[in-house]
């Protein structure tokens, strides 16, 4: 049942308007009565109308539609009219609300943007593109969602994490296409990667680009089909400067393999300490890009300085019990160890790695690195372990290098030999892609005090709330954005897990910083970018939040406020005053 009431929102206090209007009315009626002219009654009516319209304009009347309803059907932009028809046919008593940008529907009431909270318990169906996530969070009822058709474009996007310079920034996702489409990843310097998608519907893709320069950059993704070529939007890519590693080498005898690896790492700026045994009691120490340090004995203290410890099999076997103990302790604290396996003695226990080796028939492997076929010698064994080994380099049949976790640290191995041949052949890129992933994945991680995350899915638009999460390693975080401190709230259940909300500013790069200068750079997209992705995100969130059970039965009163257009008053005023002006002339 629908009831409509009128309420006022007067510009001035209502009594003053009414008193003023009454006085003016009396004066004007007196004036009219004294005028010697025809149509006295009509004139008095005109005066009444005229003053009434002025008064009404000052009082700002508003209609309120009150509606008893059990549930609400909410129409959002691009809803499917047929589905709406069917729903209304099935649930005739439901109230029909529509968003301001949705197409009109018979008997639908426009939902003011601020009024969604009033209906949060009653929404039973949502049709169309849906609501942004922050609006969705307001809905308390369980509802069913009927999505609109997705436009073409990128529907899901996994943004690249901040990458260090010279590493590869990769994006992946899905795109909704209508026929053969080319996706192009463009760097500021030009196109970097592209992929051709064929067929119809949602297709997944991945694109990557090697980074060359540190900084905050905007790459763009261009979607090109047979007819159009449109820029989906700018893709924020943060390239951080490269962080050096502290590496310790220990070898039983000097080898070319270690020598070339040392040169390679030194040129990249890493800090190296090398101990090579040259006779029973004599050692050769080398220090590159760092101060010298005592490394004649391995202790937990000396090892704590290093992020990565590389040694050969012989050195590992030669470690004393106490040294092995220190090494194990350091590994549990986060140190990474790489054993360059030169030989396997099946009779001896292989310490640290906790793995067994089987004889393998081939001592040469053929690898495909960066589209180059490379043959390298490798120890003819295959590794198997009770504990799971994460492979880094593999041939078709065995793991050539890999690592396993040991509490906070990692223990890795390398079966490949004579990789320095690649350097001698000038294949530095291939050499780098053989060693860098291995060393990087095993090296000690840089512990940070805070990690800032934005919970919303990309893209973020201006004036939208951003849900910020801060994970702390113990300290209480202080979060700042543009010199403004954001109030943080600690999670009720999880310690050191903090929440905050901020609102995205103008389109472009922005940042959030904690007191230890951990910074999260994020990019606010202009409204016209990533439109398909935004709709797809909304739809995904709706699907995640919806429930197909309609359990709402309680009735409630829905109100809809609608101001009466002042145009009406103006017209009445004009007509009435026009009549008063005309009467003497008739």
């Amino acid at each position: 049942m629908i009831r409509t009431e009128v309420i006022f929102q007067p510009i001035f206090p209502m009594w003053s308007i009414l008193v003023g209007a009454t006085l003016l009315l009396m004066f004007l009626i007196w004036k009219e009565a004294n005028r010697k002219s025809r149509f006295l009654t009509n004139r008095i009516i005109a005066v009444l109308l005229m003053l009434g319209s002025i008064t009404a304009w000052l009082l700002q009347p508003m209609t309120i539609t009150l509606k008893d309803s059990s549930s609400i059907i909410l129409l959002t932009k691009n809803y499917d009219r047929n589905k709406a028809d069917s729903l209304i046919k099935k649930y005739p008593s439901y109230t029909l609300l529509k968003e301001y940008d949705a197409a009109a529907y018979k008997n639908s009431i426009e939902l003011m943007p601020y009024a969604l909270v009033d209906h949060k318990d009653n929404i039973a169906f949502i049709l169309g593109e849906g609501l942004p996530y922050y609006e969705q969070e307001k809905i308390a009822s369980s509802y069913s969602y009927f999505p609109s058709k997705l436009p073409t474009g990128i529907t899901q996007l996994n943004l690249p994490e901040p990458v260090q310079v010279n590493q590869t920034a990769s994006i992946s996702g899905t795109a909704n296409i209508h026929g053969k489409t080319t996706l192009i990843l463009e760097q500021p310097g030009g196109s970097k990667d592209s992929v051709v998608l064929t067929g119809m519907g949602i297709k997944s893709f991945s694109l990557s680009s090697e980074t060359q320069q540190t900084g905050l950059f905007r790459y763009s993704v261009v979607l090109r089909d047979s007819l159009t070529s449109k820029v989906e939007g700018y893709l924020p890519v943060e390239v951080t400067p490269h962080k050096i590693l502290n590496i310790l080498f220990v070898q039983k005898y000097p080898s070319a393999e270690v020598r070339y690896l040392k040169n390679f790492l030194t040129e990249k700026g890493h800090a190296l300490a090398i101990r090579s045994q040259i006779s029973k009691n004599d050692f050769h120490y080398e220090f590159a890009n760092r101060e010298s340090i005592r490394i004649d004995r391995l202790t937990s203290e000396s090892l704590s300085e290093f992020d990565l410890f590389i040694m050969d099999t012989e050195s590992l076997h030669a470690l004393s019990a106490s040294e092995l103990k220190s090494l194990e302790r350091s590994v549990t604290d986060g140190l990474g160890v790489v054993v360059l396996i030169n030989s396997i003695d099946p009779k001896r226990n292989f310490p640290l790695l906790n793995a067994s080796f089987q004889v393998y028939p081939h001592d040469t492997v053929h690898l495909q690195i960066k589209n180059q076929n490379i043959a390298l010698p490798a120890l003819p064994v295959s590794i198997s372990s009770r504990l799971s080994i994460t492979p880094v380099t593999t041939s078709t049949t065995r793991i050539l290098s890999g690592y396993r976790h040991e509490v906070a640290g990692k223990i890795g191995f390398q079966l490949l030999h004579e990789t320095y041949r690649l350097l001698l052949e000038g294949k530095i890129t291939e050499y780098a892609s053989l060693w860098s992933p291995l060393l990087e994945s095993i090296a000690r991680l840089k512990t940070e005090s805070f990690k800032i995350k934005i919970k919303n899915s990309f893209p973020y638009y201006q004036d939208e709330p951003l849900a910020v999460q801060v994970i702390s390693a113990g300290d209480e975080p202080k979060l700042k954005t543009n010199h403004t401190i954001l109030p943080l709230q600690e999670d009720v259940l999880i310690d050191d897990y903090w929440h905050a909300t901020t609102w995205a500013g103008k389109a472009g790069w922005d940042s959030l910083t904690t007191q230890d200068s951990s910074t999260l750079h994020y990019y606010v997209s202009p409204d016209n970018e990533w439109t398909t992705l935004r709709i797809a995100n909304q739809q995904r969130q709706h699907f995640a939040n919806q429930s197909n059970l309609i359990s709402k039965k309680e009735t409630s009163l829905t109100t809809d406020h609608k101001p009466i257009s002042p145009l009406w008053f103006l017209m009445i005023f004009l007509l009435a005053s026009g009549f008063l002006w005309l009467t003497p002339k008739i």
């Binding site: 010279n166 500021p188 320069q213 962080k243 890009n289 010298s292 992933p437 090296a443």
Partner: protein, 756 residues
């Protein structure tokens, strides 16, 4: 009162007329405006021009109409005249209506009244002349034309044609009027004389010149300038010669690509122009080809021994010399002799010009070519470049004169098999043939079968004899001479034997040895008798080597070979008996044994090499290490970044673009300048690729240029600088991680569960 009313009516009539006419004129004018606008739109995109012409046309039409309708001259009198003319009922007295009652004489009054009545009765019917319908239709036509024409108007591109802009406008330097600018820059290019190109004046400061050209710059400055230089990439700055206070000039010979810049000093301020490229067109080496010959030609002596060689020679500026270098080779093997001759083309006699069709007839006899000899030749040419000519030559062509007298030995491997099948067949072949014979038995006649089987038996015999040689079976007949030896044997045989019962000699070996002592021939049985005494006469008698001992093989092989020969005997026996089926098992055994023998009798070359003396165990690992000490080495070697300023500039440009900032601080301008210096290094090698970048960096470094120019420069420079950055190989990095209390707990628990 009535007079007044009439006057009002006339007034209102007049107003109506004016209104109607104005409307008409407006419609005509608008139609003309639209038409003109659309028509000019076909030829020009300039809004001002289109609008101006259209407005002018509209105004002209409006004015014409105004004059035509005499609207400016329309007053009461003309209007009254119009009424008088068109409405005779008013009796030419309408003008009375406008006069004041009091001023009228009685007659006029009389007439006035009459006219007034007439006018009052006429008033509602008065129709003023108009052509409103006509004007509306003209207007509609105008609108239609407008839409029609604008639809076909060409779409002019927004970008301006840069070709139209004079290059000299770019060399303004500074906008400050007190500072000197280049008023005139004349560049004269004098190509080297040998190119026979005419000297020219450059149309743009970006120069494309032939190699070795003399370039003369003549600069006229707006005001007095103290010094002017030209900076050419890869060279020092060259000071320009001062002709007078305003004019400077410089002449340089250019033979490498690069870029240049004009720099001048005025009031102690150094101003420099934009960068301009100098692209040098290298003088190409001549291009030669021989069309009418294959690279290898063979002639027989009976052929006409003259070869015509046609060659096309081309060069970009002209050829100066060309010849054919012919080499005659005589003899073969070690006694080969060469003789080289330089020949000149028959036509043209003198080599000159850019494109030449050279032709020569080579008489091989004259060149001294004899059968079996070969002639190698190629064409070489020099162009007219000075001081060093460019040189090029063709591939070498061969002409051989066939020597028909020389016999050639052709070894044809395939032939032997067919020609001499009976001579030698392997054991495997015999097996195959036997099996085939058995298979085809039903198809052939008995006689044929028997004959084939016998032939196979013969083959088996040949094979046996062959292997028998290895065993030293000297007495056996030579291979292939079996028949002859049979006859020889026959001839030596006694008559009794000949006509008596004779055993098949072939099979003799298989028979049980005769116990009887043979009365004739050598007695070998003594050797096998261990009890026999040594014959003292042995040394003096004719005695063959023992067939058992004198073989090429060691004992075990000999035994095997012997066994093989024995089974061969059996195989042959059964073949001769026309029973190949029974022969086959023997053949297989023979093959198996032969295989084993061949495997065992392989000869291996003994490995030779350095045999080290045995090590003394006690000396191992006991070297003198007194001078080997613990040592420490330190190095700080980090690869230096090649383009530090370019890298910083990239970030700055990115920031300026994303924040839409245009103004740059002085430190930023210095950064742009440094980046320009780094880019200039690259631009020397590839001016075409990076010169634009240099100009853009100059705009940014000087902070001159308007908003659109700077924006354009920012986008262009961003793209160029990104292309400069090298792709470095991957380096391992330290990755950040956050250790939340829960993570620590998780790892510790993981460890404890593992230990459990």
């Amino acid at each position: 009162m009535s007079t007044q009313k009439t006057q009002n009516q006339i007034q209102s009539l007049k107003r109506r007329y004016l209104l109607t006419r104005s409307l008409e004129i407006t419609l005509y004018a608008v139609a003309a405006f639209l038409l003109a606008y659309a028509l000019t739109g076909l030829f020009s995109e300039l809004l001002e021009l289109k609008f101006g012409i259209a407005v002018a046309t509209g105004l002209i039409i409006a004015a014409e109409r105004l004059v035509h309708y005499k609207l400016p001259f329309l007053n009461h009198t003309t209007f009254i005249q119009f009424l008088n003319q068109h409405y005779p009922q008013l009796e030419e007295s309408a003008d009375l209506l406008l006069l004041n009652d009091s001023t009228l004489n009685p007659l006029q009054k009389l007439q006035f009244k009459k006219t007034l009545n007439q006018f009052n009765s006429l008033y509602p019917e008065i129709k003023l002349p108009n052509s409103i319908m006509h004007s509306v239709s003209v207007f509609i036509i105008g609108v239609i034309f407008y839409y029609g024409l604008t639809a076909f108007a060409p779409k002019f591109s927004v970008t301006k044609d840069t070709q139209l802009v004079s290059p000299l406008e770019n060399i303004k330097g500074n906008a400050d009027p007190t500072i000197a600018t280049i008023n005139k820059l004349a560049i004269k290019i004098i190509p080297p004389t040998y190119t026979s190109l005419k000297p020219s004046m450059a149309a743009t400061p970006n120069l494309i010149v032939p190699e070795g050209s003399q370039i003369s710059w003549a600069v006229t400055f707006s005001t007095r300038v103290a010094k002017a230089n030209i900076l050419i990439s890869g060279k020092d700055s060259l000071a320009m010669e001062k002709n007078d206070s305003l004019n400077f000039s410089l002449s340089v010979k250019i033979s490498e690509s690069g870029f240049y810049q004009v720099q001048w000093k005025d009031q102690n301020k150094i101003t420099s122009s934009d960068y301009y490229k100098i692209e040098v067109i290298k003088d190409q080496a001549p291009k030669l080809s021989i069309e009418n010959l294959n690279q290898f030609t063979q002639l027989s002596y009976s052929n006409k021994l003259s070869v015509s060689v046609k060659s096309t020679l081309r060069d970009d500026y002209g050829l100066s010399d060309a010849s054919i270098i012919a080499t005659v080779s005589k003899g073969s093997g070690e006694s080969v002799k060469f003789r080289e001759e330089r020949l000149h083309f028959d036509t043209p006699f003198k080599i000159f010009g850019k494109n030449i069709q050279g032709e020569i007839k080579m008489n091989l006899n004259k060149l001294g070519l004899e059968p079996g000899d070969e002639l190698y030749f190629y064409v070489e040419a020099f162009d007219n470049k000075t001081p060093v000519h460019n040189y090029n030559r063709t591939e070498t062509y061969f002409i051989a004169l066939k020597d028909t007298t020389a016999a050639t030995y052709v070894e044809d491997e395939g032939l032997g098999v067919d020609l001499m099948p009976e001579y030698f067949r392997s054991q495997r072949q015999i097996i195959i043939d036997s099996e085939k014979l058995l298979k085809d038995r039903k198809k052939m006649s008995q006689q044929q079968f028997n004959s084939t089987s016998n032939e196979l038996g013969y083959d088996q015999k040949i094979l046996r004899l062959r292997y028998g040689q290895f065993l030293g079976e000297e007495f056996e007949d030579a291979i292939g001479k079996v028949d002859v030896s049979d006859h020889a044997e026959e001839s030596t045989e006694s008559v009794v034997e000949k006509f008596g019962h004779v055993h098949d000699k072939e099979n003799e070996h298989n028979l049980v040895a005769d116990k009887k002592v043979t009365p004739t021939g050598h007695d070998h049985s003594d050797l096998k008798n261990p009890y026999a005494k040594e014959d003292p006469l042995e040394a003096f008698t004719h005695n063959h080597d023992d067939g058992e001992v004198s073989t090429f093989f060691v004992q075990s092989i000999r035994a095997k070979l012997k066994a093989a020969l024995t089974v061969m005997w059996d195989a042959e026996l059964h073949l001769r008996l026309f029973n190949p089926k029974e022969s086959l098992p023997y053949q297989y055994t023979a093959l198996k044994l032969l295989k084993e023998i061949s495997n065992e009798s392989r000869i291996y070359v003994h490995r030779t090499g350095f045999d080290p003396p045995p090590l003394k165990e006690e000396k191992r690992l006991s070297g003198d290490l007194s001078e080997v000490n613990t040592s420490t080495a330190k190095q700080n070697r980090q690869a230096a970044d090649k383009f530090p300023a370019i890298r910083q500039t990239i970030n700055l440009v990115e920031e300026m673009i994303s924040t839409q900032r245009i103004a740059s601080t002085s430190s930023e301008q210095q950064l742009f300048q440094k980046a320009g210096q780094e880019l200039a290094q690259l631009a020397i090698a590839q001016p075409g690729k990076y010169l634009e970048g240099l100009s853009m960096l100059k705009i940014l470094a000087e902070g001159t240029g308007d908003e659109s120019e700077i924006k354009k420069a920012l986008f262009a420079i961003r793209k160029i600088l990104w292309q400069v950055l090298p792709q470095e190989p991957l380096s391992p990095e330290k990755k950040p991680v956050i250790m939340h209390k829960l993570d620590q707990q998780f790892l510790l628990n993981l460890e404890s569960t593992r230990n459990d």
